[in-house]
Symmetry: C2
Subunit: 435 residues, 2 copies
């Protein structure tokens, strides 16, 4: 298809949804993608651009002139437009903005790119339907027709006073159901949720999810209506957040994908592996230190991988539950209560597992003292691992650090070392007692 007939290709693509075209473009070569993009009309191109992978978008944009990018940007909603511009190198940003013809669009985009991308301001769009409390329903409907043409989807209609302060909302449904001579001031709902322009996007996502909102207005410190955030942007935030936490738990930093280059993937993975290496060397030094105490008891050394694995697993389990609870805001109550609960939980798990281990060692080796030493230390190691897994994320969270870092390699490694150390100490004590 690629090489010959422009018209045929154009007709073919016309029937596709832009998200499908984006998917195709992600799979073909850069030259082919640019060739296809130049065939598309400018509205489709801009939508397609928003949907393709960030890496590919960067490459495509490099091959377009500032004028061409400005044309695409004019077709986009202000939030998407600002995102595209922020992906450009700084010197090109001003060039593209200066080529935007629509003055209002230009001013709005210039405002939006000043906000931090992790705040409500960085996520919001300027497109919204706004009415003044003094209007009538009929006048309102007339003017909404004008405003609505610019807005892809009308969610809520925001009601402002003369100073542009947000005072309430109006659902389209209420407007349709109302009589045409009623005043907006009489029918609007004054109870309106909103977020501040500097609020963190994760908090915005929580508010929207909690109250099942599909759009939320954004105001500045004086309650002046600045923009609105829609749920589809929040869906993206939630997905990214979930992926980031998942990767952190697996020991991967940065937002990488399976198709990224080997160097990018190495950069995301190597630091955590290095942490594991340091932990392993630590375990080696501990074992070497205990070498003399257990000259004739090599069997104890053979259980270190088991101890390390159990300490790591228990730590990851407890920290995962706490990290998730913190993310959902359902970890309440005292830290002590939580630690006591985790201790009981770990003790229960630990005792059940230790019974199996005790029976195995006793029957297989017939050495009661070692069987007791190994299984008692297992219980202690599991309890301590559970406590650390619970405490570390709670502590990080109090300190304002993302507790998701705690799960995964960090907890695993520290629990490995601590677990092995504890194991040898306790085993030494118990064997000395029997010996």
């Amino acid at each position: 298809i690629e090489k010959n007939d422009d018209k045929a290709l154009q007709n073919l693509l016309k029937d596709f949804h832009y998200a499908d075209i984006a998917e195709i473009l992600d799979e073909i070569s850069l030259e082919e993608a640019i060739y296809v993009i130049k065939l598309l009309d400018s509205e489709t191109t801009s939508d397609v651009l928003m949907e393709i992978d960030e890496d590919n978008r960067e490459k495509v944009l490099k091959n377009l002139s500032a004028k061409e990018i400005a044309e695409e940007v004019e077709e986009l909603d202000t939030d998407d437009a600002a995102d595209i511009i922020l992906e450009l190198p700084e010197e090109r940003q001003q060039e593209v903005i200066s080529k935007i013809e629509d003055e209002e669009h230009k001013a709005e985009i210039t405002e939006l790119i000043t906000y931090d991308e992790d705040t409500a301001g960085g996520l919001m769009a300027k497109e919204l339907v706004k009415v003044y409390e003094t209007w009538t329903v009929a006048g309102c409907l007339r003017r909404i027709r004008g405003q609505a043409k610019e807005v892809t989807r009308v969610h809520s209609i925001y009601v402002v006073d003369k100073q542009e302060k947000l005072i309430g909302r109006l659902s389209l449904k209420d407007l349709i159901v109302a009589k045409s001579d009623q005043k907006i001031a009489d029918i609007y709902i004054s109870n309106v949720d909103f977020v501040g322009v500097d609020d963190d996007v994760e908090d915005v996502a929580k508010v929207m999810a909690k109250y099942d909102l599909e759009a939320i207005p954004v105001v500045d410190e004086n309650q002046i209506l600045l923009g609105r955030i829609t749920i589809d942007d929040i869906v993206d935030v939630l997905k990214e957040e979930a992926e980031k936490d998942y990767q952190l738990a697996a020991g991967i930093t940065g937002d990488v994908e399976a198709d990224d280059s080997i160097l990018e993937l190495t950069r995301a993975r190597l630091p955590w592996l290095f942490l594991g290496l340091v932990g392993g060397v630590g375990a080696f030094l501990i074992m070497e230190g205990f070498q003399d105490s257990f000259k004739e008891k090599a069997i104890l050394f053979f259980f270190t991988p088991l101890i390390a694995a159990m300490a790591g697993n228990v730590g990851v389990q407890s920290s995962a539950i706490i990290v998730q609870g913190l993310a959902n805001d359902d970890v309440r109550g005292s830290v002590n209560g939580r630690l006591i609960k985790e201790m009981l939980l770990a003790a229960l798990n630990g005792i059940i597992l230790a019974i199996f281990l005790f029976l195995f060692v006793w029957f297989y080796k017939g050495e009661l003292d070692k069987a007791i030493a190994i299984s008692v230390s297992l219980v202690m190691v599991i309890i301590v691992a559970g406590l650390i897994g619970t405490f570390v994320p709670l502590f990080l969270n109090k300190r304002g650090v993302d507790p998701a870092i705690a799960t995964g390699p960090f907890i695993t490694t520290s629990n490995d070392i601590l677990g092995i150390l504890l194991y040898f100490w306790i085993a030494e004590l118990i064997i000395a007692f029997f010996g």
Copy 2:
């Protein structure tokens, strides 16, 4: 507040959003919660009921009569109503349904509870705004006013033909902008996304996220319009999905929360820990088997925790990337290509790490043969761990098993054992070569 003044409490609660009331109820005792619920008006009660924790909801429902539940259910949208009824014990379900007074609502709920909760049918609501292609804009607006009163939020208006087949959609905005004497047939958009009633909810979520939809109609095999799914339900699906994957990766099965009972948490965690125990015993047996080969080389045994940890970490990293790629549908191309890439990646990481380990062992112990043996085996172990981490989820996915199971304890444990085995084999070979 709890103990004295009903009126004051009622007034206080009136100003709260139902999601906030639900949050309060989750924290107080069951008797207090039921006491508060009985004070609320029935519309608020039903909304609050939908928002509180599933465990608490179950307890509250136990304390309400079938008649009381039926009253709550009448206030709810059909999808939420069906969810509540499905949470009841089977014998109570019919009792509650029979007490619902509104015949239409009763029929709709009876239909909805027949669908599997993991399908589009289990997620959809019957509330929607539907117009026939033969209506005019004016007639349409009039009738929508009637339909819209039942629907909490109008997203899209679905256009059906005389046989109730979905043929297109109409946005409220288009309807407002259109002239009142136009026919629906002339202004509707025939290009409409929809899902089948038996489609998997995860697929529905993907379609909606991909095309940025806020609502999607659900049809049966004859294209008859049955209901619609809104994005807020999808947000819940995405969150649950992400939490499930995160927990699986941490070795926790079932949907547990930090506040669940110790027994529930044990049931979710113990099986994976047991797997770890079996793995540890396996590692013990391997080390015992190699005991004689390395009589004078205890140092090799001291590195097993390091080897096991590295094998586990690398395996989790590679499987996490593949699991996530599969979830987002961006793992394309051949399995071989992916394995080769992972091999190169693992080799690169492995060699960098092995250099550090080599230098440590050489300088610290001064034994060149052991330093070489340990670091060469580390590279091999990392490569194999990476390959297994990549292959297992791809294989499970091909077999129709959720690849998320592969990350976490399963990969860690098998890589631990395999890594240790490989390590001793290679170390034995290399030391024999030098020796």
